[in-house]
């Protein structure tokens, strides 16, 4: 029953191990010359798609990314992990800075229909914006069922059984296809995109599109006013004796 065509969204973000620096004018974070990689939750989504294909449940995996030219590297990584082809929706400069999950979900919804995909797998959120909205909005725009924060996905006849991570426990839901799934951290352990696989992936095709091809207006109604560093934790003090400790605590008004 290999009839699924899976659309996987992948985002290029600042690498999880990099120390984020805020621009001096508080307009955003420094991205120039900083190491980027695929969003870890997108990796998990990609891995799940590849596993479904390995179980012969899917016939094709399409990796999509919206972003500047460098987003192609992220698509390459997805291809190296096992996607069959890529779609790059080029959005650069000012447009990319203003891009919100709503724009991305509009593009993804259009693509899902155009490519006749019957399953969309996304990461639950990206580690840069932390919006956690794209999957939900894509499902709403397509009017498809959604299973967010998936920690297990199994296929049962024409349904997908998805175990979801919810506050303090797990919830099991079944969704009919087509559907949108967003991946949580414990869904699987993504494979590493090895050098030989990256080389092989260079033969796979990446189609290029513009946001306007999908009739999506990139105008934004949200303006970033200011981006600031989290407050720095104040240094502690060492005390020699209990008396001194009590004195210090009294001084600071704690007791």
């Amino acid at each position: 029953m290999a009839n699924l065509r899976i659309l996987v969204g992948v985002k290029r973000v600042i690498d999880y191990a990099v120390k984020i620096r805020v621009k001096p004018d508080n307009s955003g974070v420094v991205t120039d010359g900083v190491k980027h990689s695929m969003n870890p939750f997108c990796e998990i989504a990609m891995e799940e798609a590849v596993r479904l294909k390995e179980k012969k449940l899917a016939k094709e995996i399409i990796a999509v990314s919206c972003g500047p030219t460098q987003a192609q590297e992220t698509i390459r990584t997805a291809l190296a992990m096992g996607a069959d082809r890529g779609i790059h929706v080029e959005v650069s400069g000012k447009d990319y800075e203003n891009m919100t999950p709503l724009h991305v979900s509009k593009i993804l919804a259009k693509l899902a229909q155009e490519q006749e995909a019957n399953l969309v797998i996304l990461g639950k959120q990206s580690i840069d914006g932390d919006n956690n909205q794209t999957g939900q909005m894509t499902a709403a725009l397509l009017d498809w069922p959604q299973a967010t924060f998936a920690s297990e996905v199994t296929k049962e006849n024409e349904h997908l059984k998805v175990v979801r991570e919810i506050d303090g426990g797990l919830e099991t839901v079944t969704v009919t296809l087509p559907a949108v799934i967003t991946a949580d951290l414990r869904l699987n352990e993504p494979r590493y995109a090895t050098l030989p696989n990256i080389m092989k992936a260079k033969k796979k095709k990446i189609a290029k599109h513009k946001a306007s091809d999908f009739g999506v207006d990139l105008g934004s109604s949200v303006e970033v006013v200011s981006v600031e560093d989290p407050p720095v934790r104040q240094a502690g003090q060492k005390v020699e004796s209990t008396e001194e400790l009590v004195a210090k605590l009294k001084e600071s008004g704690v007791i």
């Binding site: 590493y192 090895t194 050098l195």
Partner: protein, 83 residues
């Protein structure tokens, strides 16, 4: 046979160098030690021993991949799942 093994060794070195780019202590740290490990066995001629060494290299690759995955998983867990 010897040509084939030579190719395998070169491929192993390339794959290790690629993985070394993400090494937590930095690419240079990794490169120096990896290179030294290869140079230590540069005069090896016995095909059986070379095969054994390649197998060891493949094992190191597996270990590195596991290390990176765990490191990423732990960082994300700490960031997004308090307790």
């Amino acid at each position: 046979m010897a040509v084939n093994l030579r190719h395998q060794v070169r491929q192993l070195y390339k794959n290790l160098m690629f993985l070394g780019r993400e090494y937590p202590k930095g690419q240079d740290y990794f490169r120096q030690r990896c290179k030294a490990a290869f140079i230590k066995h540069k005069d090896e001629t016995d095909p059986e021993v070379i095969k054994m060494l390649i197998a060891r290299g493949d094992y190191v690759i597996k270990e590195l991949e596991a290390l990176y995955m765990l490191r990423k998983y732990r960082t994300l867990k700490k960031r997004y799942y308090p307790s």
